[in-house]
């Protein structure tokens, strides 16, 4: 029977030995980042010691609501997610791409700004984050013009995934088929139990690190326990996306009254797109020096909720909130399928929790599909 856990050889890393994983990664030249509590949320930050991990921390998430709670649990990963995961590490919110200068003879020259990123290990990546990463790979690497900046960072990335045993009420990765168990795309995966971690390698690099750890045999009881927790995590999810070809349904309902309804609530603030692990829109800007002799060309996170996103030939073709929200939803859940072969939603629920006015994407698309006619 498929218990949802990996079919790779599995071992057990006792909780008291977990520091050895951080130490091994550090020894192999990786900078380590992992979950820590900062500013009332779980965020990824530099990790040197297990003492920095959010022990017993739980997250309570609702539309427009995120709170942390403490418990007596010895666990470090008993939370669903925070506002960001991998996106800022691979696709930074602001980066200089190239610079131009006027040389002494008056000619122009252009120079690409190349950075050489350090190897980076991320601990605590979820199945939804891995699914989002695969989508970003498809966009940034596998298209006709691979993005060199993304590619350099991607090569240096080592991923330690963790099974999601405590989904938030906003999670719906079961519905999108992306979780809660990481199935591929990681170097190492962990299933956390009170006494330690069931661990397996998903890559040769992962196996090399694994071989250095003080592992013990995993018991049948521990595997059962992890399987049961995963099963419970799946059953705990209540939100879902509607069935059906959303790319067709949404585009056949561009005048549905629900778009007006959601536009009355939506702030067009772009928070949903910024926390979305698959959104990749950016704006590019030039900033000249005061003397006008040099200029930096940079890109920064943008959003389909901004005026500039649809500013073409002297005007914004999506001037109001209604058309901007419709653009976000129809692209994310609809035309994304035509572009990348799958929906752009991985069910992480961040756009629901981090919407300042609690707009729930599953509810909006559900309302449009409920009474929608389509071919």
């Amino acid at each position: 029977m498929d218990d949802g856990l990996s079919q790779q050889p599995r071992y057990f890393l006792p909780r008291q030995s977990f520091q050895s994983l951080i130490d091994q990664l550090t020894l192999q030249g990786f900078g380590c980042v992992g979950p820590v509590v900062r500013d009332a949320a779980i965020v990824f930050d530099q990790l040197r010691s297990v003492s920095e991990l959010p022990q017993g921390t739980r997250d309570r998430q609702e539309p427009g609501y995120y709170r942390l709670e403490n418990s007596e649990s010895p666990r470090w990963f008993s939370w669903a997610n925070g506002p960001q995961a991998l996106k800022p590490y691979l696709f930074p919110s602001r980066e200089v791409l190239w610079e131009g200068s006027v040389d002494e003879d008056g000619s122009l020259s252009f120079k690409e700004r190349i950075t050489e990123p350090q190897p980076l290990a991320v601990l605590g990546v979820r199945a939804c984050d891995l699914a989002a990463l695969a989508i970003h790979d498809a966009h940034f690497l596998n298209g006709p013009s691979p993005d060199a900046h993304y590619a350099r960072r991607r090569e240096q990335l080592f991923l330690v995934a963790v099974h999601c045993s405590h989904p938030a009420s906003t999670c719906f990765c079961v519905s999108t088929g992306d979780g809660p168990a990481p199935t591929c795309g990681y170097d190492m995966a962990l299933a956390e139990l009170d006494e330690g971690f069931i661990i397996d390698a998903g890559s040769e690099r992962g196996k090399r690190i694994l071989d250095q750890l003080p592992l013990v045999e995993v018991s049948a009881e521990q595997l059962d326990q992890a399987g049961r927790e995963l099963d419970a995590a799946q059953k705990a999810q209540t939100r879902e996306l509607p069935d059906g070809p959303l790319n067709r349904i949404l585009f056949q309902n561009l005048d549905h009254p629900r778009w007006d309804d959601v536009a009355e609530r939506c702030l067009a603030c772009g928070n949903c797109t910024s926390v979305c692990p698959t959104c990749f829109c950016a704006s590019e800007n030039d900033v000249p020096s005061l003397d006008g002799l040099t200029s930096e060309h940079s890109r920064e996170w943008s959003s389909c909720f901004t005026e500039g996103h649809s500013f073409i030939s002297g005007q914004a073709i999506r001037p109001d909130i209604r058309t901007r929200y419709r653009q976000w939803l129809t692209h994310k859940l609809g035309s994304w399928i035509d572009q990348y072969g799958r929906s752009g939603c991985v069910g992480c629920g961040r756009c629901i929790a981090w919407c300042p006015v609690g707009i729930d994407l599953t509810e909006e698309v559900g309302a449009i599909c409920k009474d929608a006619s389509h071919d």
Binding site: L267, V275, V287, L290, D291, G292, S302, T306, G308, I321
Partner: protein, 269 residues
């Protein structure tokens, strides 16, 4: 825009109206860049920095402050006639500033309550932005605007173009900074979703709600945000105060506050 012959530096003025001088400090705090700027333009009038020639002809004038007296009205018209390109910069010059709160009150009563000898005070009943009185060529919002905005405006003007200005919400920059949303994670009222970016999401980065120093963003939905504030437990007076900060007389914020007051009155409170 820069039509001056080669070798002749464009002439720049910085004028002050009713304000706290903070916007002028944006120039003074530039450090070495101010020296570089002084090499490129001639600082004809900038009282806080030294040169005083308020009536001189200039190519570009930066105006700080709002119009609050009859004398201000005369001065700004004079300046308009002496200046090629006028930049209104800061919350006072673009929206009337914090002193525009008088627009919602009995100004004469305030004067008599505040001053021991109110007969010496000769001011208008309102505080208004420059654009109410003259043609303004460029507005730079913010309390105060940052140096990059000011330098970017000068650089663009020297090129003969307008600077790229974003009216995106503070939330966009807040997320770029990886700041955690105080509205969602702490239930703290924050004006970020209706405020234009430019400050670098300064307050939310330090765990405080946005005060809307940079004024209204584009594509606003103040009603929805007010409704959410109400759900957080804010009273109508608290919500009104959120909009009546330094950009209280920006039309969108003025109307949002008026709306709350009218709705509250309608409820018979």
């Amino acid at each position: 825009m820069d039509t001056s012959p080669p070798g002749i530096k464009p002439r720049l003025a910085v004028h002050k109206f009713a304000s706290c001088d903070g916007c002028q400090l944006t120039f003074l705090n530039m450090g070495e860049t101010l020296l570089q700027l002084a090499d490129m333009v001639e600082l004809v009038h900038f009282a806080e920095a030294g040169p005083v020639a308020p009536d001189a002809d200039v190519d570009i004038a930066f105006i700080e402050g709002s119009v609050t007296t009859e004398h201000d009205l005369e001065r700004i018209r004079q300046i308009r006639s002496h200046s090629g390109f006028i930049v209104a910069f800061g919350a006072c010059a673009t929206a009337g500033g914090i002193q525009a709160l008088r627009n919602f009150a009995d100004a004469a009563e305030w004067v008599s309550a505040v001053y021991a000898s109110p007969e010496y005070i000769d001011s208008l009943a309102t505080s208004t932005p420059m654009s109410d009185h003259i043609t303004v060529d460029l507005e730079i919002w913010g309390c105060p605007p940052n140096r990059d905005q000011v330098l970017g405006a000068i650089r663009a003007w020297l090129y003969g173009t307008l600077p790229a200005q974003s009216q995106d919400k503070v939330c966009m920059e807040c997320k770029r900074q990886q700041a955690v949303c105080v509205l969602v994670a702490r239930g703290m009222p924050c004006m970020g979703p209706v405020t234009q970016t430019g400050c670098g999401a300064l307050c939310p980065s330090f765990g405080r709600g946005c005060y809307s120093c940079y004024g209204p963003a584009e594509a606003l939905n103040t009603d929805s945000l007010c409704g959410w504030f109400e759900g957080l437990g804010l009273l109508p007076a608290d919500i009104t105060r959120q909009f009546r900060h330094v950009s209280n007389s920006a039309p969108q914020f003025r109307d949002a506050a008026a709306n709350i007051i009218a709705t509250d009155a309608g409820h018979g409170h």
